[in-house]
């Protein structure tokens, strides 16, 4: 039986289109981007209110797909994270209407 994974990328807003292109290239059928409002990493805090250029903002990208495609994304996305700040996690989920992925 096909396994479905939910992959979650926490990534800079400036780089999110790049990440989205990687998702699309790997064949994910869709994704959704959520704006973050604040965060902490290393030793710095950021917040939307702090930075007029918004160049430090992060977003969260959610994407659900079958295991093969998500694995493909995880293999590909590492390159992007060499250059950009980001966190990637994946976990198995049950999906409704598996046909659509």
């Amino acid at each position: 039986m096909t396994k479905y994974l939910r992959i979650e990328l926490i990534i800079e807003r400036m780089a999110h289109k790049r990440a989205c292109r990687v998702l699309e290239a790997a064949g994910m059928t869709g994704y959704t981007v959520l704006p973050a409002m604040a965060g902490f990493g290393g030793s710095k805090r950021w917040s939307r209110d702090t930075d007029l250029s918004a160049s430090g903002d992060m977003v969260v990208i959610l994407s659900v797909g079958d295991e093969a495609k998500v694995r493909a994304v995880m293999a590909e996305i590492g390159d992007l994270l060499g250059a950009h700040i980001g966190i990637v996690t994946a976990a198995e989920v049950e999906v409704l209407r598996p046909g659509r992925f």
């Binding site: 790049r18 292109r21 939307r48 702090t50 007029l52 250029s53 918004a54 160049s55």
Partner: protein
């Protein structure tokens, strides 16, 4: 000189600067107050539309002369050259690596539109005139610096094996040449030029009468941003780096003053060209750097430009630049 001191004092006590100071103080005292991001962006668009329109209307009153074109060209050259000087100074006086130095240099070659606006006011208060084409100069000076910086960042280093994953052809070019401030500034300039004084009369109450007040609100937010940036980022800045944020504007100002003198510019125009050169970007360039040089550290370049150079320019810098302009144009 006495007149310049007067300008300095009335600049420092104008509501605009006082609201900026209020924002900085609130941020440093760690007040939780904030202007919503959407409002700040909306105000920024308003300000750029307003100065674009004003510049365009001014330009529509006179034909385009060679003098004007020479100033435009001078602006472009300044934006190309200043980052190179900044880069060399940063590499000599600070411990920043090639990438961080190049990214920081890009900020100092580009411009700050709010500093420009504040200077326009101060110039008017000093009883000088300035031409609408300086708005066009501002728009033209935004981007060449980025090109120089990218060149400096890659020089000497083996060429990048491959572009950042997922990047797209033209993405940087669009971000850089079609960013909001260029689109709105150039667009509004063209619209002001086409519609002229008569055509824009019905929008004057919005774009002219409110301008000063909106600026107060915007500078309150700028003060909060600058103050928070400084409070969080100052630890990342070494003393030589902070020093750079204070003397680099003066060096750029000096170079621009020389050019203004050669071009025989009127004092008001010269003051604005000098201010543009001395100002550092904190909106357009940081965004471009996250795309083009993601390894460079925003906590350095943004804190320096917004937290050190911007406050320096709007308080002490502008009166100095006006004085310099009067000096080199022989009207001081």
């Amino acid at each position: 000189m006495g007149a310049v001191l007067d300008v300095a004092i009335s600049t420092l006590l104008s509501p605009i600067i006082l609201f900026f100071a209020l924002g900085m103080v609130a941020a440093i005292l760690r007040s939780q107050m904030s202007v919503p991001e959407a409002i700040a962006k909306g105000l920024a668009i308003y300000l750029m539309m307003a100065i674009g329109l004003k510049g365009g209307v001014e330009m529509s009153k006179n034909p385009l002369t060679t003098d004007v074109i020479l100033v435009l060209v001078a602006g472009i050259i300044l934006s190309f050259v200043i980052p190179a000087i900044s880069f060399v100074l940063l590499r000599i006086t600070t411990k920043l690596d090639r990438i961080d130095a190049a990214a920081t240099a890009a900020h100092y070659g580009s411009i700050s539109i709010v500093t420009f606006v504040a200077a326009t006011e101060a110039v008017r208060l000093s009883g000088l005139d300035s031409g609408g084409h300086l708005v066009a100069v501002a728009a033209l000076m935004e981007t060449p610096a980025i090109i120089t910086a990218l060149f400096l960042a890659s020089r000497g280093e083996a060429q990048r094996a491959k572009p950042v994953a997922g990047s797209e052809r033209g993405e940087l070019v669009r971000e850089v040449f079609l960013n909001a401030s260029i689109v709105v500034l150039v667009g509004a300039l063209a619209i002001g030029w086409i519609a002229g004084e008569e055509g824009t009369a019905s929008v004057q109450p919005f774009f002219v009468d409110l301008f000063q007040g909106v600026l107060c609100l915007f500078l309150l937010d700028m003060g909060l941003s600058a103050g928070r940036g400084l409070r969080q980022g100052w630890r990342q800045l070494s003393i030589p780096t902070v020093g750079f944020g204070l003397y680099m504007p003066l060096i750029s100002a000096g170079i621009a003053a020389a050019i203004a003198s050669v071009l025989n510019m009127p004092a008001g125009d010269a003051a604005l060209l000098i201010t543009l050169s001395a100002s550092a970007s904190y909106i357009a360039v940081p965004a471009a750097m996250r795309l083009a040089l993601p390894e460079a550290k925003p906590s350095i370049y943004l804190t320096l430009s917004l937290g050190v150079t911007f406050p320096f320019n709007v308080t002490i810098g502008i009166p100095i630049y006006i004085y310099l302009a009067l000096l080199v144009t022989g009207q001081g």
